[in-house]
Protein backbone atom coordinates (compact mmCIF):
# COMPACT_ATOMS: atom_id res chain seq x y z
CA UNK A 1 0.00 0.00 0.00
CA UNK A 2 1.55 3.30 -0.99
CA UNK A 3 0.97 6.15 1.41
CA UNK A 4 1.16 9.92 1.48
CA UNK A 5 2.86 11.22 4.60
CA UNK A 6 3.50 14.79 5.79
CA UNK A 7 5.78 16.01 8.58
CA UNK A 8 5.44 19.50 10.08
CA UNK A 9 8.57 20.98 11.66
CA UNK A 10 9.76 24.16 13.38
CA UNK A 11 13.12 25.90 13.17
CA UNK A 12 14.59 26.62 16.62
CA UNK A 13 17.95 27.92 17.84
CA UNK A 14 20.50 25.59 19.45
CA UNK A 15 20.65 27.37 22.78
CA UNK A 16 23.76 25.78 24.32
CA UNK A 17 24.53 26.48 27.96
CA UNK A 18 23.10 29.94 28.63
CA UNK A 19 20.24 31.76 26.93
CA UNK A 20 20.90 35.43 26.07
CA UNK A 21 17.97 37.67 25.13
CA UNK A 22 17.77 40.53 22.67
CA UNK A 23 17.77 44.05 24.09
CA UNK A 24 13.96 44.38 23.92
CA UNK A 25 13.65 41.00 25.72
CA UNK A 26 11.18 39.74 23.12
CA UNK A 27 13.41 37.07 21.55
CA UNK A 28 16.55 35.02 22.05
CA UNK A 29 19.69 36.70 20.75
CA UNK A 30 20.56 34.21 18.02
CA UNK A 31 23.45 36.12 16.42
CA UNK A 32 25.95 33.53 17.63
CA UNK A 33 23.72 30.47 17.55
CA UNK A 34 23.09 27.68 15.08
CA UNK A 35 19.62 26.41 14.27
CA UNK A 36 17.98 23.02 14.02
CA UNK A 37 14.54 21.50 13.78
CA UNK A 38 12.83 20.86 17.09
CA UNK A 39 13.94 17.40 18.43
CA UNK A 40 10.52 15.71 18.57
CA UNK A 41 9.85 16.79 14.98
CA UNK A 42 13.11 15.33 13.74
CA UNK A 43 11.72 11.95 14.82
CA UNK A 44 8.50 12.70 12.91
CA UNK A 45 10.57 13.33 9.78
CA UNK A 46 12.56 10.11 10.30
CA UNK A 47 9.35 8.11 10.79
CA UNK A 48 7.82 9.59 7.62
CA UNK A 49 10.93 8.61 5.65
CA UNK A 50 10.87 5.06 7.05
CA UNK A 51 7.19 4.60 6.18
CA UNK A 52 7.76 5.67 2.57
CA UNK A 53 10.93 3.56 2.30
CA UNK A 54 9.00 0.51 3.48
CA UNK A 55 5.87 0.83 1.40
CA UNK A 56 6.46 3.47 -1.25
CA UNK A 57 4.55 6.71 -1.66
CA UNK A 58 5.07 10.41 -1.31
CA UNK A 59 6.40 12.50 1.58
CA UNK A 60 6.20 16.24 2.19
CA UNK A 61 7.75 18.43 4.91
CA UNK A 62 6.09 21.70 5.95
CA UNK A 63 7.36 24.58 8.08
CA UNK A 64 6.20 28.08 8.93
CA UNK A 65 8.85 30.72 9.46
CA UNK A 66 11.27 33.20 7.88
CA UNK A 67 13.32 32.66 4.71
CA UNK A 68 16.03 30.80 6.66
CA UNK A 69 13.58 27.96 7.42
CA UNK A 70 14.55 26.55 4.04
CA UNK A 71 17.72 25.22 5.78
CA UNK A 72 15.62 22.92 7.99
CA UNK A 73 13.39 21.95 5.06
CA UNK A 74 16.53 20.94 3.11
CA UNK A 75 17.75 19.00 6.18
CA UNK A 76 14.47 17.05 6.19
CA UNK A 77 14.78 16.38 2.46
CA UNK A 78 18.38 15.24 2.99
CA UNK A 79 16.99 12.57 5.33
CA UNK A 80 14.74 11.40 2.49
CA UNK A 81 11.59 13.56 2.39
CA UNK A 82 10.52 14.12 -1.25
CA UNK A 83 9.54 17.78 -1.28
CA UNK A 84 8.81 20.80 0.91
CA UNK A 85 6.21 23.48 1.50
CA UNK A 86 7.49 26.68 3.10
CA UNK A 87 4.93 28.96 4.74
CA UNK A 88 7.09 32.05 4.66
CA UNK A 89 6.79 34.78 7.29
CA UNK A 90 8.65 37.98 8.12
CA UNK A 91 10.12 36.35 11.24
CA UNK A 92 7.51 37.60 13.72
CA UNK A 93 6.28 35.17 16.37
CA UNK A 94 3.10 33.23 15.40
CA UNK A 95 1.04 31.71 18.19
CA UNK A 96 -0.10 28.10 18.10
CA UNK A 97 -3.60 28.94 16.93
CA UNK A 98 -2.40 30.99 13.95
CA UNK A 99 0.31 28.45 13.07
CA UNK A 100 -2.25 25.64 13.04
CA UNK A 101 -4.65 27.62 10.84
CA UNK A 102 -1.92 28.39 8.27
CA UNK A 103 -0.69 24.78 8.22
CA UNK A 104 -4.27 23.52 7.82
CA UNK A 105 -4.71 25.75 4.74
CA UNK A 106 -1.43 24.54 3.24
CA UNK A 107 -2.22 20.88 3.92
CA UNK A 108 -5.70 21.26 2.39
CA UNK A 109 -4.29 22.91 -0.71
CA UNK A 110 -1.73 20.14 -1.18
CA UNK A 111 -4.35 17.46 -0.63
CA UNK A 112 -6.62 19.08 -3.23
CA UNK A 113 -3.78 18.89 -5.76
CA UNK A 114 -2.08 15.60 -4.89
CA UNK A 115 -4.41 13.51 -2.70
CA UNK A 116 -5.11 12.97 0.95
CA UNK A 117 -2.30 12.49 3.47
CA UNK A 118 -2.65 9.17 5.29
CA UNK A 119 -0.53 10.43 8.18
CA UNK A 120 0.48 13.94 9.22
CA UNK A 121 3.26 14.03 11.81
CA UNK A 122 3.85 16.80 14.33
CA UNK A 123 6.16 17.09 17.33
CA UNK A 124 4.29 16.70 20.63
CA UNK A 125 5.41 20.24 21.51
CA UNK A 126 7.96 22.62 20.03
CA UNK A 127 11.28 23.00 21.84
CA UNK A 128 10.98 26.78 22.13
CA UNK A 129 7.41 27.95 22.74
CA UNK A 130 6.09 24.58 23.99
CA UNK A 131 2.45 25.31 23.14
CA UNK A 132 1.29 21.65 23.05
CA UNK A 133 -1.51 22.38 20.56
CA UNK A 134 -0.69 22.72 16.85
CA UNK A 135 -1.21 19.03 15.97
CA UNK A 136 -4.51 18.77 17.87
CA UNK A 137 -5.82 21.93 16.19
CA UNK A 138 -4.91 20.80 12.67
CA UNK A 139 -6.48 17.38 13.33
CA UNK A 140 -9.71 18.96 14.52
CA UNK A 141 -9.87 21.31 11.54
CA UNK A 142 -9.35 18.40 9.14
CA UNK A 143 -11.79 16.16 11.04
CA UNK A 144 -9.20 13.44 11.68
CA UNK A 145 -8.28 11.45 14.77
CA UNK A 146 -5.22 12.74 16.63
CA UNK A 147 -3.03 10.70 18.99
CA UNK A 148 -0.34 12.56 20.93
CA UNK A 149 3.01 11.96 22.63
CA UNK A 150 3.90 8.82 20.68
CA UNK A 151 6.98 6.67 21.20
CA UNK A 152 5.96 3.96 18.70
CA UNK A 153 3.94 4.02 15.48
CA UNK A 154 3.00 0.86 13.57
CA UNK A 155 0.83 0.86 10.45
CA UNK A 156 -1.50 -2.14 10.39
CA UNK A 157 -3.44 -2.16 7.12
CA UNK A 158 -5.83 0.78 7.07
CA UNK A 159 -5.24 1.70 10.71
CA UNK A 160 -2.29 2.70 12.88
CA UNK A 161 -1.27 1.32 16.26
CA UNK A 162 0.13 4.09 18.47
CA UNK A 163 1.99 3.76 21.75
CA UNK A 164 2.00 6.72 24.13
CA UNK A 165 4.44 6.81 27.03
CA UNK A 166 2.68 7.20 30.38
CA UNK A 167 3.74 6.59 33.96
CA UNK A 168 4.15 2.84 34.40
CA UNK A 169 4.35 1.83 30.75
CA UNK A 170 2.61 2.68 27.49
CA UNK A 171 -1.00 3.24 26.52
CA UNK A 172 -2.03 1.81 23.16
CA UNK A 173 -4.44 3.47 20.74
CA UNK A 174 -5.57 2.04 17.41
CA UNK A 175 -7.08 4.60 15.05
CA UNK A 176 -8.11 4.45 11.38
CA UNK A 177 -6.15 6.31 8.70
CA UNK A 178 -6.04 9.14 7.82
CA UNK A 179 -4.73 10.36 11.16
CA UNK A 180 -2.65 13.10 12.77
CA UNK A 181 0.12 11.82 15.06
CA UNK A 182 2.22 13.92 17.42
CA UNK A 183 5.48 12.23 18.36
CA UNK A 184 8.26 12.47 20.90
CA UNK A 185 11.99 12.04 20.74
CA UNK A 186 12.81 8.37 21.32
CA UNK A 187 10.27 7.24 18.72
CA UNK A 188 13.30 6.34 16.60
CA UNK A 189 16.93 7.34 16.24
CA UNK A 190 17.04 9.81 13.33
CA UNK A 191 19.73 9.01 10.77
CA UNK A 192 22.53 11.40 9.89
CA UNK A 193 22.04 12.87 6.43
CA UNK A 194 24.34 11.24 3.88
CA UNK A 195 26.37 13.31 1.42
CA UNK A 196 24.34 12.00 -1.57
CA UNK A 197 21.19 12.73 0.49
CA UNK A 198 22.31 16.33 0.94
CA UNK A 199 23.12 16.61 -2.78
CA UNK A 200 19.68 15.31 -3.75
CA UNK A 201 17.99 17.66 -1.27
CA UNK A 202 19.44 20.67 -3.13
CA UNK A 203 17.39 19.80 -6.19
CA UNK A 204 14.14 18.88 -4.48
CA UNK A 205 11.17 21.22 -4.83
CA UNK A 206 10.31 23.84 -2.20
CA UNK A 207 6.90 25.41 -2.76
CA UNK A 208 6.52 28.79 -1.06
CA UNK A 209 3.31 30.35 0.24
CA UNK A 210 2.99 33.56 2.22
CA UNK A 211 0.17 33.32 4.75
CA UNK A 212 -1.05 36.49 6.44
CA UNK A 213 -0.39 36.67 10.18
CA UNK A 214 -3.52 37.30 12.24
CA UNK A 215 -3.26 39.20 15.52
CA UNK A 216 -1.94 36.79 18.16
CA UNK A 217 -4.54 35.86 20.76
CA UNK A 218 -1.76 34.41 22.91
CA UNK A 219 0.41 37.50 22.62
CA UNK A 220 4.05 37.40 23.71
CA UNK A 221 4.93 40.51 25.73
CA UNK A 222 8.45 39.73 26.93
CA UNK A 223 10.86 36.97 27.88
CA UNK A 224 13.02 36.55 30.96
CA UNK A 225 15.73 34.16 32.05
CA UNK A 226 14.59 32.74 35.40
CA UNK A 227 16.75 33.42 38.43
CA UNK A 228 19.14 30.58 39.21
CA UNK A 229 18.10 27.91 41.67
CA UNK A 230 20.54 29.24 44.20
CA UNK A 231 23.06 26.47 43.63
CA UNK A 232 26.54 27.53 44.57
CA UNK A 233 29.11 25.08 43.42
CA UNK A 234 31.33 23.83 46.22
CA UNK A 235 34.54 22.21 44.96
CA UNK A 236 35.30 18.78 46.37
CA UNK A 237 38.76 18.90 44.82
CA UNK A 238 40.14 17.63 41.58
CA UNK A 239 41.09 14.30 40.07
CA UNK A 240 41.01 10.88 41.74
CA UNK A 241 42.12 12.46 45.03
CA UNK A 242 38.59 13.88 45.43
CA UNK A 243 37.07 10.38 45.75
CA UNK A 244 36.96 10.30 49.60
CA UNK A 245 35.18 13.69 49.67
CA UNK A 246 32.62 12.38 47.14
CA UNK A 247 31.96 9.27 49.25
CA UNK A 248 31.56 11.49 52.31
CA UNK A 249 28.98 13.56 50.39
CA UNK A 250 27.10 10.40 49.38
CA UNK A 251 26.98 9.32 53.04
CA UNK A 252 25.71 12.75 54.12
CA UNK A 253 23.04 12.60 51.41
CA UNK A 254 21.90 9.29 52.88
CA UNK A 255 22.36 7.31 49.69
CA UNK A 256 25.28 5.17 50.82
Amino acid sequence: MTLRVAACIKRVPITGGRIVLTEDARAIDTRHLGFTMSPHEECGVEEAVRIIEAGGGDSVVLALGPAEVVEQLRDAMALGIDRAIHLQTDGQEWDGEATAAALTDALRADEAAAGRFDIIFFGNESADSGGFQVGARVAYALGRPCVTGLKRVLIEGSSVRCEQEVEGGRDVYIVPLPAVLTVKEGLNLPRYPSVPGKMRARNKAVAVTTPIRPAARLELVSLAVPAGQGRRAESLGSGAAAAPAVVELLRKAGVL
Partner: protein, 290 residues
Protein backbone atom coordinates in the same frame (compact mmCIF):
# COMPACT_ATOMS: atom_id res chain seq x y z
CA UNK B 1 -18.20 33.61 38.20
CA UNK B 2 -17.60 29.90 38.25
CA UNK B 3 -14.36 28.33 37.04
CA UNK B 4 -14.02 24.83 35.60
CA UNK B 5 -11.03 22.61 36.39
CA UNK B 6 -10.04 19.25 34.90
CA UNK B 7 -8.82 17.21 37.87
CA UNK B 8 -6.33 14.35 37.87
CA UNK B 9 -5.04 12.47 40.90
CA UNK B 10 -1.89 14.04 42.39
CA UNK B 11 -0.38 17.36 43.41
CA UNK B 12 -0.27 19.11 40.00
CA UNK B 13 -4.09 19.32 39.95
CA UNK B 14 -4.19 20.67 43.51
CA UNK B 15 -1.59 23.27 42.52
CA UNK B 16 -3.82 24.18 39.57
CA UNK B 17 -6.64 25.17 41.96
CA UNK B 18 -4.42 27.96 43.33
CA UNK B 19 -4.36 29.73 39.95
CA UNK B 20 -7.96 28.73 39.11
CA UNK B 21 -9.24 30.74 42.11
CA UNK B 22 -7.81 33.91 40.54
CA UNK B 23 -10.55 33.66 37.89
CA UNK B 24 -13.38 33.45 40.44
CA UNK B 25 -15.31 31.04 42.64
CA UNK B 26 -16.86 28.59 43.05
CA UNK B 27 -14.62 26.05 41.35
CA UNK B 28 -16.26 23.16 39.53
CA UNK B 29 -14.43 19.94 38.71
CA UNK B 30 -14.64 17.34 35.98
CA UNK B 31 -12.39 14.35 36.70
CA UNK B 32 -10.09 12.82 34.11
CA UNK B 33 -11.53 9.36 34.87
CA UNK B 34 -15.07 10.51 33.94
CA UNK B 35 -14.47 8.55 30.73
CA UNK B 36 -12.76 5.18 31.16
CA UNK B 37 -10.60 4.13 29.42
CA UNK B 38 -9.04 7.52 28.71
CA UNK B 39 -10.50 9.22 25.63
CA UNK B 40 -9.19 12.78 25.22
CA UNK B 41 -11.73 14.05 22.66
CA UNK B 42 -14.57 12.78 24.86
CA UNK B 43 -13.20 14.70 27.85
CA UNK B 44 -12.78 17.83 25.73
CA UNK B 45 -16.39 17.51 24.55
CA UNK B 46 -17.60 17.17 28.15
CA UNK B 47 -15.53 20.14 29.34
CA UNK B 48 -16.94 22.25 26.51
CA UNK B 49 -20.55 21.39 27.41
CA UNK B 50 -20.01 21.93 31.14
CA UNK B 51 -18.12 25.21 30.60
CA UNK B 52 -21.02 26.49 28.48
CA UNK B 53 -23.67 25.37 30.98
CA UNK B 54 -21.81 27.02 33.88
CA UNK B 55 -20.85 30.02 31.76
CA UNK B 56 -17.38 29.40 33.19
CA UNK B 57 -15.03 32.37 33.20
CA UNK B 58 -12.02 30.09 32.58
CA UNK B 59 -11.08 26.42 32.23
CA UNK B 60 -7.86 25.14 33.79
CA UNK B 61 -5.99 21.85 34.00
CA UNK B 62 -2.60 20.70 35.24
CA UNK B 63 0.21 20.93 32.67
CA UNK B 64 0.61 17.17 32.61
CA UNK B 65 0.62 15.11 29.41
CA UNK B 66 -3.08 14.38 29.88
CA UNK B 67 -3.93 17.94 30.91
CA UNK B 68 -2.17 19.62 27.99
CA UNK B 69 -3.58 17.12 25.53
CA UNK B 70 -7.21 17.52 26.62
CA UNK B 71 -6.96 21.31 26.82
CA UNK B 72 -5.47 21.54 23.31
CA UNK B 73 -8.47 19.58 22.01
CA UNK B 74 -10.87 21.77 23.99
CA UNK B 75 -9.19 24.84 22.48
CA UNK B 76 -9.50 23.43 18.97
CA UNK B 77 -13.19 22.59 19.24
CA UNK B 78 -14.03 25.84 21.07
CA UNK B 79 -12.08 28.02 18.64
CA UNK B 80 -10.21 29.64 21.53
CA UNK B 81 -6.53 30.34 22.26
CA UNK B 82 -4.77 28.15 24.84
CA UNK B 83 -1.79 28.90 27.09
CA UNK B 84 0.13 25.83 28.30
CA UNK B 85 2.34 25.53 31.38
CA UNK B 86 1.59 28.79 33.17
CA UNK B 87 3.17 29.65 36.52
CA UNK B 88 1.24 32.86 37.28
CA UNK B 89 -1.99 34.45 36.00
CA UNK B 90 -4.03 37.60 36.43
CA UNK B 91 -7.62 37.47 35.12
CA UNK B 92 -7.74 40.68 33.05
CA UNK B 93 -9.24 41.03 30.47
CA UNK B 94 -7.03 40.43 28.70
CA UNK B 95 -5.68 37.80 31.07
CA UNK B 96 -1.98 38.29 31.65
CA UNK B 97 0.17 35.32 32.46
CA UNK B 98 3.67 33.96 32.89
CA UNK B 99 4.41 30.65 31.21
CA UNK B 100 7.33 28.30 30.70
CA UNK B 101 9.28 28.11 27.47
CA UNK B 102 12.18 25.83 26.61
CA UNK B 103 11.11 23.34 29.26
CA UNK B 104 11.44 26.03 31.93
CA UNK B 105 14.72 27.60 30.81
CA UNK B 106 12.84 30.77 29.83
CA UNK B 107 9.80 32.60 31.22
CA UNK B 108 7.33 34.29 28.89
CA UNK B 109 5.05 37.15 29.88
CA UNK B 110 1.97 37.02 27.66
CA UNK B 111 -1.54 38.37 27.18
CA UNK B 112 -4.33 35.93 26.48
CA UNK B 113 -7.08 37.63 24.47
CA UNK B 114 -10.02 35.31 25.05
CA UNK B 115 -13.59 35.41 26.38
CA UNK B 116 -12.76 32.19 28.26
CA UNK B 117 -9.07 31.67 29.10
CA UNK B 118 -7.95 28.05 28.64
CA UNK B 119 -4.87 27.48 30.77
CA UNK B 120 -2.69 24.66 32.08
CA UNK B 121 -0.49 25.14 35.13
CA UNK B 122 3.11 23.89 35.00
CA UNK B 123 3.51 21.10 37.58
CA UNK B 124 5.43 21.90 40.78
CA UNK B 125 5.75 25.63 40.09
CA UNK B 126 2.80 26.86 42.18
CA UNK B 127 2.16 26.08 45.85
CA UNK B 128 -1.04 24.44 47.07
CA UNK B 129 -3.17 26.95 48.99
CA UNK B 130 -6.06 26.24 51.32
CA UNK B 131 -9.49 27.01 49.89
CA UNK B 132 -12.92 25.57 49.25
CA UNK B 133 -12.71 22.24 47.41
CA UNK B 134 -14.14 22.26 43.88
CA UNK B 135 -17.70 21.05 43.36
CA UNK B 136 -17.84 17.83 41.34
CA UNK B 137 -20.00 18.21 38.25
CA UNK B 138 -22.39 15.35 37.46
CA UNK B 139 -21.43 14.30 33.92
CA UNK B 140 -22.92 10.82 33.55
CA UNK B 141 -25.63 12.01 31.15
CA UNK B 142 -22.94 13.70 29.04
CA UNK B 143 -20.82 10.52 28.98
CA UNK B 144 -23.87 8.49 27.90
CA UNK B 145 -24.64 10.97 25.16
CA UNK B 146 -21.11 11.17 23.70
CA UNK B 147 -20.78 11.25 19.94
CA UNK B 148 -19.10 8.15 18.46
CA UNK B 149 -16.49 10.40 16.78
CA UNK B 150 -15.32 11.63 20.18
CA UNK B 151 -14.60 8.04 21.24
CA UNK B 152 -12.51 7.15 18.19
CA UNK B 153 -9.27 8.04 20.01
CA UNK B 154 -9.41 5.86 23.08
CA UNK B 155 -6.90 3.77 25.04
CA UNK B 156 -7.41 0.14 24.02
CA UNK B 157 -4.49 -1.57 25.73
CA UNK B 158 -1.57 -0.98 28.09
CA UNK B 159 1.99 -2.25 27.69
CA UNK B 160 4.07 -2.65 30.86
CA UNK B 161 7.59 -1.19 30.85
CA UNK B 162 10.20 -3.62 29.53
CA UNK B 163 13.33 -2.58 31.42
CA UNK B 164 14.21 -4.31 34.65
CA UNK B 165 16.66 -1.65 35.89
CA UNK B 166 16.15 1.26 38.28
CA UNK B 167 13.64 3.76 36.85
CA UNK B 168 14.98 7.27 36.19
CA UNK B 169 11.80 9.01 37.34
CA UNK B 170 11.85 7.42 40.79
CA UNK B 171 15.61 6.87 41.32
CA UNK B 172 17.13 8.30 44.53
CA UNK B 173 20.54 8.39 42.88
CA UNK B 174 21.38 8.87 39.21
CA UNK B 175 24.83 8.50 37.69
CA UNK B 176 24.69 10.19 34.31
CA UNK B 177 27.18 10.45 31.46
CA UNK B 178 27.64 12.95 28.65
CA UNK B 179 29.76 13.37 25.57
CA UNK B 180 32.83 13.38 27.83
CA UNK B 181 32.36 9.65 28.48
CA UNK B 182 33.70 9.23 24.95
CA UNK B 183 32.05 6.04 23.72
CA UNK B 184 29.44 3.38 24.30
CA UNK B 185 32.06 1.23 26.04
CA UNK B 186 33.06 4.20 28.19
CA UNK B 187 29.77 3.77 30.09
CA UNK B 188 31.16 0.66 31.82
CA UNK B 189 32.61 2.82 34.62
CA UNK B 190 29.32 4.76 34.91
CA UNK B 191 27.37 1.50 35.18
CA UNK B 192 29.82 0.15 37.74
CA UNK B 193 29.35 3.17 40.03
CA UNK B 194 25.58 3.10 39.50
CA UNK B 195 25.54 -0.59 40.44
CA UNK B 196 27.39 0.12 43.70
CA UNK B 197 24.94 2.90 44.60
CA UNK B 198 21.76 1.13 43.45
CA UNK B 199 21.43 4.08 41.09
CA UNK B 200 19.83 4.54 37.69
CA UNK B 201 22.08 5.31 34.72
CA UNK B 202 21.25 8.51 32.86
CA UNK B 203 22.76 10.34 29.92
CA UNK B 204 22.59 13.55 27.90
CA UNK B 205 21.04 14.07 24.46
CA UNK B 206 24.47 14.02 22.77
CA UNK B 207 24.89 10.46 24.02
CA UNK B 208 21.57 9.15 22.68
CA UNK B 209 22.06 10.97 19.36
CA UNK B 210 25.41 9.17 19.04
CA UNK B 211 23.66 5.84 19.69
CA UNK B 212 25.70 5.06 22.85
CA UNK B 213 22.63 4.69 25.09
CA UNK B 214 18.89 4.19 24.47
CA UNK B 215 16.62 7.23 24.59
CA UNK B 216 14.95 5.82 27.72
CA UNK B 217 18.15 6.79 29.60
CA UNK B 218 18.06 10.41 28.40
CA UNK B 219 17.59 13.14 31.01
CA UNK B 220 16.39 16.55 29.82
CA UNK B 221 13.75 18.65 28.12
CA UNK B 222 13.00 15.98 25.50
CA UNK B 223 13.96 13.07 27.75
CA UNK B 224 13.03 12.26 31.33
CA UNK B 225 12.65 14.88 34.07
CA UNK B 226 14.24 13.56 37.25
CA UNK B 227 14.09 14.30 40.99
CA UNK B 228 16.81 12.28 42.79
CA UNK B 229 18.46 12.99 46.14
CA UNK B 230 21.70 13.32 44.20
CA UNK B 231 22.46 13.58 40.50
CA UNK B 232 26.04 12.76 39.52
CA UNK B 233 26.78 14.31 36.13
CA UNK B 234 29.93 12.92 34.49
CA UNK B 235 31.30 14.69 31.43
CA UNK B 236 28.05 16.58 30.78
CA UNK B 237 28.49 20.20 29.69
CA UNK B 238 25.03 21.28 30.86
CA UNK B 239 23.15 22.63 27.85
CA UNK B 240 19.74 24.15 28.67
CA UNK B 241 18.18 21.08 27.05
CA UNK B 242 19.77 18.94 29.80
CA UNK B 243 19.29 21.37 32.70
CA UNK B 244 15.53 21.47 31.98
CA UNK B 245 15.39 17.87 33.20
CA UNK B 246 17.27 18.54 36.47
CA UNK B 247 15.04 21.11 38.14
CA UNK B 248 13.76 18.52 40.62
CA UNK B 249 17.22 17.21 41.64
CA UNK B 250 18.00 17.90 45.30
CA UNK B 251 21.78 17.90 44.88
CA UNK B 252 23.91 17.97 41.76
CA UNK B 253 27.52 16.76 41.69
CA UNK B 254 29.34 17.64 38.47
CA UNK B 255 32.48 15.87 37.33
CA UNK B 256 34.08 17.57 34.35
CA UNK B 257 37.48 18.42 32.92
CA UNK B 258 36.24 21.91 32.00
CA UNK B 259 35.68 23.99 35.16
CA UNK B 260 33.80 26.58 33.08
CA UNK B 261 31.22 24.07 31.75
CA UNK B 262 27.71 25.39 32.53
CA UNK B 263 26.95 22.33 34.64
CA UNK B 264 30.05 22.97 36.78
CA UNK B 265 28.73 26.48 37.45
CA UNK B 266 25.16 25.31 38.16
CA UNK B 267 26.00 22.33 40.38
CA UNK B 268 26.06 22.11 44.17
CA UNK B 269 29.35 20.19 44.21
CA UNK B 270 32.10 19.82 41.64
CA UNK B 271 35.11 17.67 41.01
CA UNK B 272 37.42 18.95 38.27
CA UNK B 273 39.38 16.51 36.16
CA UNK B 274 39.22 13.42 34.00
CA UNK B 275 36.10 11.37 34.70
CA UNK B 276 37.91 8.24 33.49
CA UNK B 277 40.12 8.52 36.59
CA UNK B 278 37.65 10.05 39.02
CA UNK B 279 34.65 7.70 38.53
CA UNK B 280 36.65 4.47 39.07
CA UNK B 281 38.34 6.09 42.10
CA UNK B 282 34.91 6.78 43.66
CA UNK B 283 33.88 3.17 43.01
CA UNK B 284 37.11 1.93 44.61
CA UNK B 285 36.58 4.20 47.62
CA UNK B 286 33.03 2.84 48.11
CA UNK B 287 34.33 -0.75 47.94
CA UNK B 288 37.06 0.07 50.46
CA UNK B 289 34.41 1.18 52.97
CA UNK B 290 32.52 -2.12 52.77
Amino acid sequence: MSVLVLMEPGDPSRQTLTLARKFGEPLHAVHVDAVEPFAPDALAAILQRVADELNASAVLAAGTERGNEVMARLAARSGLPFAANCVAVSPGPPATLTRLRWGGSLLEEARLHSPRPLITVAPHTVSIEAGAAPIDVEVKHLVDGLDERDLMVRVSDHVAPSNGGVSLTTARVIVSGGRGVGSKEGFAIIEELAGLLGAAVGCSRAVTSAGWRPHSDQVGQTGTKVAPEIYIACGISGATQHMAGLKGAKRILAINSDPQAPLMLNADYTVAGDLKEIVPAISAEIRKGR
